[in-house]
């Protein structure tokens, strides 16, 4: 199948008080049409920055390298104006806090209609019909009255649904969702996950789902990529990666989670903390925390290589092979 998005060798560095710091260091991945691609990692692993880079949403002074093919064009080399057209229409994004993308002073209807009028050139009446459709699509109760309400009148879960409706307004091919359920209760989270799952089935939408929660990825992602310190350490089909992890970091992340069948034993915590992007360890960035690290891990960066079955792994030792 042809890829919807193909990212190769993505590198991002940002100016900080500690000098120029590489946040994303050579990341490769591809997203296929209609799939949910999960990106997991702890804070500071570069998972969000690598997505913001695609949409040109990085702060001033950022250096970006590599390429990101989307619909025959390299997003990283598009002029700002062209990128804005793509990012408004074909690629959309929702964030952890829906209030970062919703305007607090504009009615829900205004935010939905403005978007479709700008990017799709619809008339006022057509835009309003489309807005109503979108609210129904994301299951906002009483969509007609919701059009005239303001974001603060809704609960966190409903706001996230509205943010998703705004993101879907122009019929994007790709939705990037950055921790969309992290701030929500589990009962509400389950509703948003079901919504995303339905949207990708019914609308042939691809979703990049960024989260620190492997449980969330396990419920809707088709393939997943595990980020650590600005690199991908392991990727592959959801079931394989989560059931038979091959990278010691993936294994450790899974062991640190509360497990229903073993609630009596203590959680197996990973020693130490993820490194700051300004002080990434040499060789394999995970080596200081890895029980399987060897001399080679300390000096040589392990490349991300194919290991069969659509899986890729960046580990010199592959202890769980």
């Amino acid at each position: 199948m042809s890829k919807l998005l193909e990212v190769e060798g993505l590198r991002v560095s940002l100016p900080t008080s500690e000098g120029r710091v590489t946040i994303v260091d050579g990341v490769d991945y591809a997203v296929e049409p209609g799939e949910v691609f999960g990106v997991a990692g702890e804070s500071g692993s570069g998972k969000t920055i690598s997505m913001l880079a695609l949409l040109g949403l990085l702060p001033d002074g950022a250096h970006v390298g590599g390429c990101a093919q989307f619909g025959g064009r390299d997003l990283l080399r598009l002029p700002k104006r062209a990128l804005r057209d793509v990012s408004g229409r074909d690629v959309a994004m929702v964030f952890q806090d829906p209030m970062t993308s919703l305007h607090p002073m504009l009615s829900v209807g205004k935010q939905l209609t403005e978007h479709v009028r700008r990017h799709l050139g619809l008339s006022k009446d057509e835009a309003e019909r489309r807005a109503l459709e979108l609210l129904e699509e994301v299951r906002i109760p009483g969509p007609r009255s919701a059009l005239h309400a303001y974001p603060h009148q809704f609960s966190g879960g409903m706001r996230q649904r509205i943010a998703i409706a705004v993101a879907l307004a122009c019929g994007p091919k790709l939705l990037i969702a950055d921790e969309p359920t992290t701030a929500l209760d589990v009962t509400v989270q389950a509703g948003i996950l079901r919504l995303l799952d339905r949207l990708r089935r019914e609308n042939d939408l691809s979703v990049v789902l960024i989260t620190h929660d492997l449980g969330v990825l396990s419920s809707i992602a088709d393939r997943i990529s595990i980020f650590y310190a600005g690199r991908v350490v392991e990727s592959g089909p959801r079931e394989d990666v989560l059931q038979t992890p091959r990278h010691p970091y993936t294994k450790a992340l899974l062991d640190a989670l509360p497990h229903p069948e073993a609630s009596e034993r203590p959680l197996v915590a990973i020693e130490g903390a993820p490194p700051s992007p300004a002080r990434i360890p040499s060789g394999c960035a995970f080596h200081p925390r890895c029980p399987y690290a060897t001399e080679q891990s300390r000096v040589e960066v392990p490349p991300l290589v194919e290991i069969g079955g659509g899986r890729r792994l960046a580990c010199h030792n592959d202890p769980f092979a």
Binding site: E42, V186, V188, L214, S218, L257, P258, P274
Partner: protein, 327 residues
């Protein structure tokens, strides 16, 4: 005598120009010595208000709160009575509960006096090196800062610590470290912990007993394992069913229909009835009390009967001929 006892506690917030809100509407909870009690529920259920009332940070508008048999008076401008300092609290966000301009050592010493040696002991207790004392909060990761906040609470030589979402802002690896630390501290020091959390999976690992709160009231209390094996209240069942598992199976967790109602206008009868798949005639009419279903379990649901036998809501509904509503 229990370590901490809350009886029919109410917390009411007055709002200028609008009707007041009863965030906690008569909730009872007991923490025994050395026990870890988990308090779970969705945001807005009143669990944080109850936690704050338990340590005297907000005033309970009704009910009784006793710490080691002594009444907990709300905090005033005066210093707390010495005995009450053994009841401590740790907050969700260690970034805002620590002073960014002061060194760790002096902030920990604030908690209970003692010199450098005592501070070093406390740091060791939470797994930090002694030289952490001379550094500032920004030099630590989120997990380490939460350790520091715990060390400061321990400085007062507490017998009970109330922790409000202590793991919520941490990454998975730090979360596991802090969860294990809390269990070890409780076991080693005989500490009682009241752990408030929205994360059921972690509570399951840590707590001995769990109380489930919905819209200001307790709906179920049980030893952790039996609560998970056979939830008695439909709300507990829904909460457990909504937790996603990282087993790679692609199983989509169940969503609970509807939203938590406005606590200023709670539904009549059982507060959960508008969202409950098993609600029947009695539920919108009468509010169910938290009744003992077995010796060790309590539930506030008309499907259950005092004396049991305890059974899942679906099973009880079938026995009683109540048709489940499918959304």
């Amino acid at each position: 005598m229990s370590a901490l006892e809350l009886h029919d506690v109410e917390v009411t917030y007055e709002r200028r120009g609008r009707e007041s809100v009863r965030a906690v509407a008569g909730a009872s909870l007991i923490v025994e010595r050395g026990q870890i009690v988990g308090l779970v529920g969705e945001s807005g259920c009143g669990k944080s208000s109850l936690a704050r009332a338990a340590v005297g940070l907000v005033k309970a508008s009704a009910g009784e709160i006793h710490f080691e048999g002594r009444e907990v008076a709300p905090l005033t401008r005066r210093a707390r009575p010495r005995e009450l300092t053994r009841l401590q609290m740790v907050f969700q966000n260690p970034y805002s509960s620590l002073n960014p301009r002061r060194k760790i050592g002096s902030q920990i010493a604030d908690g209970g006096g003692g010199g450098r040696k005592r501070v070093a002991e406390l740091l060791e207790l939470v797994g930090l090196p002694p030289n952490a004392a001379t550094r500032f909060p920004h030099q630590f990761s989120g997990g380490q800062r939460q350790r520091i906040a715990i060390a400061r609470a321990l400085a007062a030589d507490p017998s009970v610590i109330v922790l409000d979402e202590p793991l919520a802002s941490l990454d998975a690896s730090a979360q596991a470290q802090i969860a294990n630390l809390l269990v070890n501290l409780s076991r080693e020091l005989g500490l009682s912990l009241l752990l408030i959390s929205h994360d059921l999976a972690i509570v399951r690992h840590v707590a001995d007993v769990v109380s489930v709160m919905y819209l200001g009231v307790m709906v179920e209390t049980a030893p952790t394992r039996s609560l998970w094996e056979v939830p008695l209240h439909p709300y507990t069942e829904a909460l457990i069913g909504a937790v996603p598992l990282a087993d790679g199976s692609g199983f989509l967790p169940e969503a609970l229909p509807g939203e938590v109602p406005d606590p200023a206008h709670p539904p009549s009868g059982c507060r959960f009835h508008p969202r409950c798949p098993y609600a029947f005639e009695r539920c919108p009419r009468d509010e169910p009390p938290l009744l003992p279903v077995t010796e060790i379990r309590r539930a506030a649901c008309w499907l259950q009967e005092p004396g049991g036998p305890p059974a899942r809501p679906a099973e009880r509904a079938a026995q009683l001929g109540v048709a489940a509503r499918v959304e």
